[in-house]
Assembly symmetry: C2
Homo-oligomer: 225 residues x 2
């Protein structure tokens, strides 16, 4: 990277960090836990979100921001479940930035308890952009292979939680779940790991419980702060 590129990049990341901190503060005060979902294209972010929506909503009201380069497809899928959802189409850009999320804050209904943000499908660039989330989840689908954590270290090192998806396909694949999990834990020993299959409904209840508990912890932490 040239010196000029580095300077511009530092400026962008610096201003993104500031906006992200403001979003986090604002939503924490409103009792909204923000979850940023990050993965390769086709790891199953939207399908997993559909299952989470079915489990949490409307007992725990949630809202969803969908990031994509083009198309309203993902937001449409979530809206069909009766959940408020906004599509951000980046028109070519490879990641979401905090300011894109910030613009949508006034539209989030007052009763919202969880805001899920589905990032652009990309295991590289989104890892550098804080969106004001409390929890960053990286998804790894079994068909992607068990060698991905060390090849894409930033996504795994910066996450709070690793969600293995499409685990129903493991019998048909050369995929070693333990190897992939250990490789991710080598990069980031504090990772919480969940094994899910959206198709079979596996692991969804555990994941939903984790989000509920994380929100309780967030609120208790505020009270003691």
């Amino acid at each position: 990277m040239s010196k000029k590129e580095l300077i511009v990049r530092e400026e962008i990341l610096g201003s993104n960090k500031k906006v992200a901190a403001e979003i986090r503060e604002k939503l924490e005060a409103a009792g909204v836990l923000v979850v940023n979902l990050l993965s390769s294209p086709g790891s199953g972010k939207t399908t997993l979100l559909e299952r989470i929506v079915e489990t949490l909503h409307p007992t725990h009201p949630l809202a969803v921001i969908e990031g994509d380069i083009e198309t309203e497809r993902d937001a449409d899928r979530i809206r069909r479940k009766g959940v408020p959802a906004w599509q951000i189409t980046t028109g070519g850009a490879c990641h979401l930035e905090a300011k894109m999320v910030g613009k949508l804050l006034p539209e989030i209904p007052a009763e919202t308890k969880f805001l899920f943000i589905e990032n652009v499908g990309n295991l590289v660039c989104p890892a550098s952009y804080d969106l004001g989330e409390n929890i960053r989840c990286v998804l790894l689908s079994a068909p992607e292979g068990d060698d991905k954590p060390k090849k894409y270290p930033k996504a795994f090192a910066s996450a709070d939680c690793l969600i293995f998806t499409k685990s129903d396909l493991i019998p048909y694949l050369p995929f070693d779940l333990e190897k992939a999990g250990n490789e991710a834990l080598d990069l980031n020993p504090r990772l919480r790991i969940f094994v899910t299959s959206a198709l079979k409904g596996r692991g969804i209840a555990e994941l939903a419980r984790y989000f509920i508990e994380s929100r309780v912890n967030m609120i208790q932490h505020q009270r003691h702060a």
Copy 2:
């Protein structure tokens, strides 16, 4: 994107284009067909390359450049097949650039007829960077889903050839091959499409033949130029 970002980006892409044109000219003159493989992480680029290597090499000598953010894993896999391979680790950068490829040209053996470049696993950013290739292949693995072409349009619109991978998994997936193919052809009617399974050896011979024919065409085109 800010104005400053846009200017820096234009400069980078402009200088990349120039270096790419030089690489293409140099390698065409040496009779080397260059193929740039582009896809999400875990679409099966390296495994497909292993099958292509087994089919072409050493009758049609080839060389491989592997792009990754971290690790020498992919180059090691190709070297085990007796093929010269170089690993470029970008250390965080989300795509290969032509200058990274240019540096390796002096090392390519004289007898080489095909240079395969496996880009960083990312369906977004690499699509903007010409590496001096004659053929750009975008891979889409069945587990990624049949809705990807219109969500990641640049990769599909800028490619010469679309390779469906992991087709052996289609029976276990909600994946409509025709839908995905038609969506890609909507974006890019000149796309050549191949359906492969590296695990079952499906479609590899057809793909190898396409590369051989493309090289013949390249050489004939030069003679008539």
